[in-house]
């Protein structure tokens, strides 16, 4: 499917603003972005449930719209809020097949098959009202899979479900990947990283960055995306000098070296897990070594987030609990921070 300059306006508000997007067959494309970015509207447009205000949608090179019933039958969307017909699990899953005129025994076989996939085969005769939220979500996935869509659109498929259900649904999505094209919207970064071939970042109705998962996570194009994808250290700075592609950037009283050709005022972003902590200065190829003092730490299970003050600038550093204990870190302890110039993103 391909979107060319697609916009969807509600009055003066553009929920989707001039989006160009191509979804490669058999791949998993994840649309990430904050709430209200337009992800759901974009999926609804792709599902041919909404008519774009402008632009065109092509499916296998042919222009389509919400009246293209034949194409619409090859695309299924699973909505963020689980919606099911007030009927049994079986009836819900069978709906898409019956609409397509499948014979009774074909319907029966396919319903059993997809219910097995989502581990709900034993519940076929139960009314959906008797199911838990997680079970309802599994039924919704089975319902979408039953008619064997070519393009599956998932709007936050794992929101509001317990971890085991989320894991099970994620497994299903992973198994399906390759057999069909999946576009899924989420604001869960880890989920996006685990499932996607390509990630598109959406903000204010626009796709502001698109690329392979690693690319978007490692090389965000602006500070907003950087913060969203986990660059917790974002500072205002000024490029003092650039020599051989390495810039010296002043962040307050701290001087940081980064790989950039930028000049003047800028923003500097650094992931907390890209910083190495040590009680003595490290002998390494990392260009940046700063001395600071631990001001606080937050226990996050297997990891610990350490807040370090370096001449008035607070750095957030993520280390393992084991390292934290081995180094006997405590508040007020002088500490060294080391990080590569290439780990820093400059905008």
């Amino acid at each position: 499917m391909e979107l060319r300059g697609v916009s969807k306006r509600y009055g003066r508000v553009a929920a989707v603003d001039c989006v160009d997007l191509a979804v490669e067959e058999g791949k998993v494309l994840t649309i990430i972005g904050p709430n209200g970015a337009g992800k759901t509207t974009l999926l609804r447009l792709m599902a041919l449930l909404e008519k774009p205000t402008s632009g065109e949608i092509l499916y296998r090179g042919v222009r389509v719209d919400e009246a293209s019933e034949d194409v619409r039958r090859r695309i299924v969307m699973v909505f963020q809020r689980t919606t099911l017909f007030s009927a049994s699990v079986y009836e819900n899953v069978a709906y898409g097949l019956r609409i397509r005129g499948y014979a009774r025994d074909e319907v029966d076989a396919r319903v059993r098959e997809v219910l097995e996939v989502v581990d709900m085969a034993e519940h076929a005769d139960r009314h959906v009202r008797e199911l838990s939220g997680g079970e309802r979500r599994r039924v919704a996935i089975a319902q979408a899979l039953a008619p064997k869509p070519e393009l599956l659109l998932l709007d936050e498929p794992l929101s509001d479900v317990d971890p085991p259900t989320a894991e099970a649904i994620e497994d299903v999505i992973r198994e399906l990947a390759g057999d069909l094209t999946i576009v899924h919207a989420t604001h869960d970064l880890l989920q996006a990283a685990r499932l996607s071939d390509v990630i598109a970042f959406m903000r204010d109705g626009r796709i502001v960055q698109i690329g392979r998962a690693g690319e978007v996570f490692r090389r965000p194009v602006d500070a907003f995306i950087a913060r969203f994808v986990g660059f917790e250290n974002i500072f205002d700075g000024v490029v003092v000098s650039v020599e051989g592609g390495i810039a010296k950037i002043a962040v307050g009283d701290v001087l940081i070296e980064a790989v950039t050709e930028r000049r003047g005022r800028c923003k500097v972003a650094l992931r907390p897990e890209d910083i190495v902590l040590s009680v003595t200065p490290l002998e390494s190829s990392m260009r940046n070594t700063l001395r600071g003092r631990i001001i606080d730490f937050v226990d996050a299970g297997a990891l610990v987030k350490v807040l370090v003050d370096v001449d008035g600038v607070t750095f957030r550093v993520l280390i393992t609990k084991r390292s934290f204990l081995n180094m006997k870190l405590r508040r007020g302890l002088p500490i060294y921070l080391s990080f590569k110039a290439s780990s820093i993103q400059v905008f």
Binding site: R44, R72, R73, I99
Partner: protein, 233 residues
């Protein structure tokens, strides 16, 4: 007081012996009001679906009109229909006055606001995502509308039950359009009025009991269907 008890006992006798007059009047009432409900459903259901799912100018106004007509006085409606159906009236050529069909049409008009308003309300209370769900699973616009209607089936049945009960219990339209002609348009309500005026209290009470039983039975049946069948859940 004793007259009432006496009448009640005699009424039970009439019922137990399956009095032919009582059976005939009750059957006619059932047929006329059943036909009226079917007629009202045939035009009320599509109207309700259009009002609940469509988006056109004046939709809210029309819904308001149907709501306002819920409490229309039956005698007033009977009078208007009498004037329309009378020989010199604009619909006189249909020759509906003093016929069972005339009464059925009159009752259908009377209960149409109930059919429309109740079904509109039921359809509007269905989750809006149901329509999208049906469509994304491959349904056409018509099939998606049917899916929404199916979700509202409890409300649709309630609308039909309420309509039937209103039709069979009303007096004004049956009296003015039907004329209470013995063996032709005499129904339960008109008979009760007539027999009471004539002092035949036993027969009146017997007919009133039948009327009550029918109304209760129809309501109960719909509830039982809901409980047993599961299809209205």
């Amino acid at each position: 007081m004793w007259e009432l008890v006496d009448g009640f006992l005699k009424a039970l006798q009439l019922l137990a012996s399956a009095d032919p007059t009582v059976i005939e009047i009750a059957t006619r009432s059932l047929c006329i009001s059943g036909a009226a409900t079917l007629m009202a459903a045939s035009w009320g259901l599509p109207t309700a679906v259009l009002l609940a799912m469509g988006s056109f100018r004046g939709r809210e106004f029309i819904k308001g009109v149907f709501n306002a007509m819920l409490g229309v006085p039956t005698v007033g409606l009977g009078l208007v229909l009498f004037l329309l159906f009378s020989r010199s009236g604009p619909l006189g050529f249909l020759r509906l006055l003093y016929t069972p069909m005339g009464v059925a049409v009159g009752q259908a008009v009377l209960v149409t606001p109930i059919v429309v308003s109740f079904i509109v309300s039921a359809v509007e209370s269905v989750e809006p995502e149901i329509r999208d769900l049906a469509r994304t699973l491959g349904a056409s616009e018509l099939e998606a509308s049917m899916a929404v209607l199916r979700e509202a089936r409890g409300g649709v049945v309630l609308a039909l039950v309420a309509s039937f009960n209103r039709a069979i219990s009303e007096l004004g339209v049956a009296l003015m359009i039907g004329g209470n002609i013995r063996g032709v348009t005499r129904v339960l309500t008109t008979s009760i009025a007539l027999e009471t005026a004539r002092g035949e209290i036993e027969l009146s009470i017997a007919l009133a009991i039948i009327l009550l039983l029918i109304v209760l039975a129809v309501s109960l049946l719909s509830r039982l269907l809901r409980r047993w069948g599961g299809w209205m859940r």
